[in-house]
Symmetry: C2
Subunit: 341 residues, 2 copies
Amino acid sequence: MSDKKDKLTIYDISEKSGVSIATVSRVLNGYSNVNEKTRDKVLAVMSEMGYKPNAFARGLGLDSMKTIGILCADSSDAYLAKAVYYIEEALRAAQYNALLICTGYSFEDKKNALELLLERKVDAAILVGSNFVSSKASENVYIKDAAASIPVMLLNACFECDNVYSLYCNDYAAVKAAVEFLYTKGRKKILYLYNSKSYSGTKKLNGFKDALKEHGVSSSTDYAVYVQGGPDDTDNFVNILNNLCENGLDFDAVMASEDYLAIAALKYGIKKGMRIPEDLAVIGYNNSSLSTIFEPELTSVDNKLKPLSEQLVNTLLGVLKGAEMPGKTEYSAELIERRTT
Amino acid sequence: MSDKKDKLTIYDISEKSGVSIATVSRVLNGYSNVNEKTRDKVLAVMSEMGYKPNAFARGLGLDSMKTIGILCADSSDAYLAKAVYYIEEALRAAQYNALLICTGYSFEDKKNALELLLERKVDAAILVGSNFVSSKASENVYIKDAAASIPVMLLNACFECDNVYSLYCNDYAAVKAAVEFLYTKGRKKILYLYNSKSYSGTKKLNGFKDALKEHGVSSSTDYAVYVQGGPDDTDNFVNILNNLCENGLDFDAVMASEDYLAIAALKYGIKKGMRIPEDLAVIGYNNSSLSTIFEPELTSVDNKLKPLSEQLVNTLLGVLKGAEMPGKTEYSAELIERRTT
DNA sequence: CAATTTTATGTAAGTGCTTACATAACGTAT
DNA sequence: ATACGTTATGTAAGCACTTACATAAAATTG
């Protein structure tokens, strides 16, 4: 419509509307101490001239650009992507923007990405996914460093430290309960498939081990299978299961630490002509969209992604307003029973 | 390590290292006209004091913060998420950051999001997914407006306009060829399932219609089924197919405009006890990770997401350097035959 | 060795906004 | 009408950088 001249500043608006730049600035920030008529006038001029405030200058003055940094190992992981989606949406509703960085899985890269966020002067950082907290304490120092300058929010992970806020599920209990459930369904040989040695990954693994222990299986190591790979490595996982089977490892159920691992187990079973769940029962983790898009639908542990994401943003907004917020928030996961058990 | 005092500025570095702020700034920007010894000295002081430049101030001065805005309707769509991942990765390698905004599917929201990017002074905008270009010309004005101030990149969509660069596949031909393929496999009644009326969606639809026409089916409308919903609405799609079937619509193959629609068709078929592909053949579109995670694996049209994403970033970097770049880049999609046909 | 170019550094004026402080205008109570 | 508190507005000094221009020092040339 109007002028496409790009370099409009507050001065142009000031001149054209016959008020000082201070008043223009006040209008811009929605301060109440401006006469209604002046405000209308200024707003009119702004929209007429097509004025857009310069974000850098505002940032310099306010020392904030209303931007939250989001770190995510892999945005193509359906589950993490969903979390990012919920969070971004909630942030936007609160007039914040999201600066997303996909970090990959190495801690070196995560550290760099977080430093980048600090340089970008984000108001806070949100680390999405359990893989940001290692079971090795030394690898978690980068979080502490960042928390020295901005609030750090952790989704699905827990790290106790000043100015970091953890929101997560009771993974240990959830896995343990899921395995118990498999036992009640008459399963004898349960395989645990996992691909993360994060802090939370370790807790899940312990849940599995303790469940076995309570059922008299002490050497659970054989049945806890660590695999490497992400959501796109289904065929790799299937091969690994094939190899295990060929090497004589026998199992009638798979508990997986991620839905996509469970899906791989399912694919393995179906390819081998097994009946699901009679010959092979499978439980996933996350209750992601993967669990319902196929037939048979996957039994999965719902770790409350949406409420956790939303609560995370709430907590963050509280922190940014200066309110006192709980450093740890734990939700209870819930087993969603479907066709694979 | 060093002081965590946050408010270090260029002046502190200047003072401590005995040079002027101009020289410090030059070092910061890696300019060559600085004596090597001075540079080393300044860099040493910077790292010793733990200095981080203020991004706002730099942005103000440079009028750029090396940030590219990415718009994506729904980051939880596996396919779009993957694209975002590729793009973000390539951008980061080129020292750019990504500002992600998920817009949802309404054009009003898309328009707002793009304006927000402009206010944020991003160096360019990348619109990921065909849904950003409508088949209604009037709805595309927002792109033109943005292109007046920054380069706009389109992935999987095409919009001819100065300063917008489109990278996409020949969707029309791809769908047509896929449908042809179904005919050669002996299919008689092919259903087309689609959920987007975007510019590219329309082209796909036309590919379907023309393929039918060439096989003597003129009233293809009955067989082109428009459904509403996204990746999470599998069950909704399954229901729709059930209803169609109950209403007497008969089909032995489904061509889908998205993999997740194809997956829904598959779920429908398997639930009904159909043999795949004997009773129901299915072809998806995108060749996303969904197509291979399950058994049977889905035949799908590979629309070259990765090379397109990378080429997109290359093109963008060229544009930002001031080079002349092609406004349109079309790749050829390719049918990947798997178990569902 | 004077003249000239090159290289390194400093000074100071932006960049577009925010905001403390000052001032003017306007009631309202005395 | 006088004094006082409000409310609305303006002035000018930041904010932390970049960079054009000026200048000093060093290197090159005839």
